[in-house]
């Protein structure tokens, strides 16, 4: 048992700390030496949302000495279904401030450092320097590649977790001892192909499970207890309550941790993830303009690409329903002579639907409803935000 904290960094525990952490101290795998390492450890949590909430709470309770919290966002009502470190009274506060208060209530021995800003190539190494490991609790590919590269360049472990609907993944990417995120995923999906949780939904408990696994892995890395998830990808599926553990290996050709690295410093992650490619913008229509068209009785075809269970939340007036996954198969149901207006929840997936049809040779006029159903709620009091 050694772990990633060197012995020269540890200090003694006070009587109060011995009382608080007693249940750890009597575990032979952790004991007082492991608890001292937890006290000496500095952990950076990137994203204090669904995953970051349980990670921050459990690591604070476990007695991690320093917790760094990075998040540029403010608490919103729709976060509270799963982001359990925040409360109703925290709405509109920075997530880092809300989380810091909770952590200090829970355990005053923890030193909390907050970064209420977006982590990017220009500040990431400065923020991460001095931390022993990073918890990846982010919600997008560009930040996940950034966190990975920072960890590889600094030589520290990346405790990874990600979630979607009822499914989660966890691993420890530690290039010194196994594969990194890039070994598993050399390139991100093209923008729009993989829906986000805002578009696809997520079971509120799911980040609690995956985040708790990340917290366990962090504690194991720090104390040296057990075998970390290095070289293994843990998959979890809540509906069937099924765990799978798959083997993943280091890629000798990995551009950052392979035998001949070509990435030696942080890169432009937006560009890497294809977010800067200049595509011709699709034509759009504002909710107010659409309402005027409908009120004036103008003949248009409204295509709602949401899934049937989402239509049950709100039926869009006069809409024809073609779920995104069936669009290409059913494109002949559209009339090329009529203007078509595409609707989704937030007006993003509908852009991809329009591009999909255009690339498939559809000749008629296609418009995207700005902000989707959530935008429509501004002009139609019967429409909910969700």
């Amino acid at each position: 048992m050694s772990g990633i904290i060197s012995d020269d960094r540890v200090t003694d525990l006070s009587k109060e700390e011995i009382l608080r952490y007693g249940r750890h101290l009597i575990l032979p795998e952790i004991n007082i030496e492991g608890q001292k390492k937890l006290k000496a450890a500095k952990v950076l949590i990137v994203g204090v949302g669904g995953l970051g909430s349980p990670v921050a709470l459990y690591l604070a309770a476990a007695g991690i000495g320093t917790l760094g919290l990075v998040d540029p966002d403010f608490v919103e009502e729709s976060n509270l279904q799963r982001q359990i470190i925040h409360s109703s009274k925290d709405i509109d506060r920075p997530k880092t401030s809300s989380a810091k208060d909770k952590i200090q209530d829970l355990n005053p021995f923890v030193n909390v450092v907050t970064y209420n800003s977006t982590i990017n190539s220009s500040n990431a190494l400065d923020i991460a320097k001095g931390y022993d490991l990073i918890i990846d609790g982010t919600d997008n590919f560009q930040t996940r590649y950034l966190v990975n590269d920072v960890c590889v360049l600094l030589g520290i472990p990346n405790v990874y977790g990600s979630i979607f609907q009822f499914e989660g993944q966890a691993s420890v990417f530690y290039a010194k001892e196994g594969p990194c995120y890039r070994c598993l995923l050399p390139a991100p999906p093209p923008p729009g192909l993989v829906p986000s949780c805002a578009q696809g939904g997520v079971l509120g408990v799911l980040p609690g499970i995956i985040g708790s696994i990340q917290a366990v892995e962090a504690i194991k890395l720090i104390t040296g207890a057990g075998t970390p998830l290095i070289g293994k990808l843990l998959l979890f599926e809540a509906l069937e309550m099924k765990f799978s553990r798959l083997r993943i290996e280091k890629d000798p050709n990995c551009p950052i941790c392979g035998n001949h690295p070509t990435i030696t410093k942080l890169i432009d992650y937006e560009e890497f993830c294809g977010l800067k490619t200049k595509e011709k913008p699709v034509d759009k229509i504002s909710p107010l303009e659409l309402k005027k068209l409908l009120d004036a009785g103008k003949k248009v075809q409204i295509i709602d690409i949401r899934e049937p269970h989402e239509q049950a939340i709100f039926k869009f007036p006069q809409a024809k329903y073609i779920p995104f996954g069936q669009l290409l198969r059913r494109k002949n149901e559209l009339d090329e002579k009529l203007d078509a207006i595409f609707i989704c929840k937030i007006g993003q997936k509908s852009v991809f639907a329009i591009r999909l049809l255009q690339n498939a040779g559809y000749k008629g006029k296609l418009f995207n409803l700005d902000n989707g159903v959530n935008g429509w709620a501004e002009v139609d009091p019967s429409a909910p935000l969700y």
């Binding site: 990600s162 979607f164 999906p189 993989v194 290409l328």
Partner: protein, 92 residues
């Protein structure tokens, strides 16, 4: 060879909600192709414009990544379980 293909949540929109499907193929590539022919909407998720398997989808036979076997040429035997594991990025 008759194998079971496990479909992750993110791709079930394209398989009429099915969590697993039976497929036939002597190799992983053949089985996945045969599967994609039954559910054509899934094709552009699995393959790029040039027909190459997308880099964000990992395929495992049992517990092993086909990258560490023979890729899409990895041979299959009756009863194998093939799992599609696309990248997911949610965390908030």
């Amino acid at each position: 060879m008759a194998i079971t293909l496990l479909i992750p949540t993110a791709l079930r929109n394209f398989t009429d909600g099915k969590k697993e499907v039976q497929a036939e193929g002597k190799t992983v590539g053949e089985a996945v192709d045969n599967f994609a022919n039954v559910y054509p909407d899934i094709k552009r998720h699995l393959y790029d414009e040039k027909g190459v398997l997308r880099a964000f989808i990992n395929i495992f036979v049992g517990e092993t990544n086909i990258k560490n076997l023979q890729g899409l040429d990895t041979p299959l035997k009756d009863g194998d379980t093939v799992m599609l594991v696309p990248a997911i990025a949610g965390g908030k």
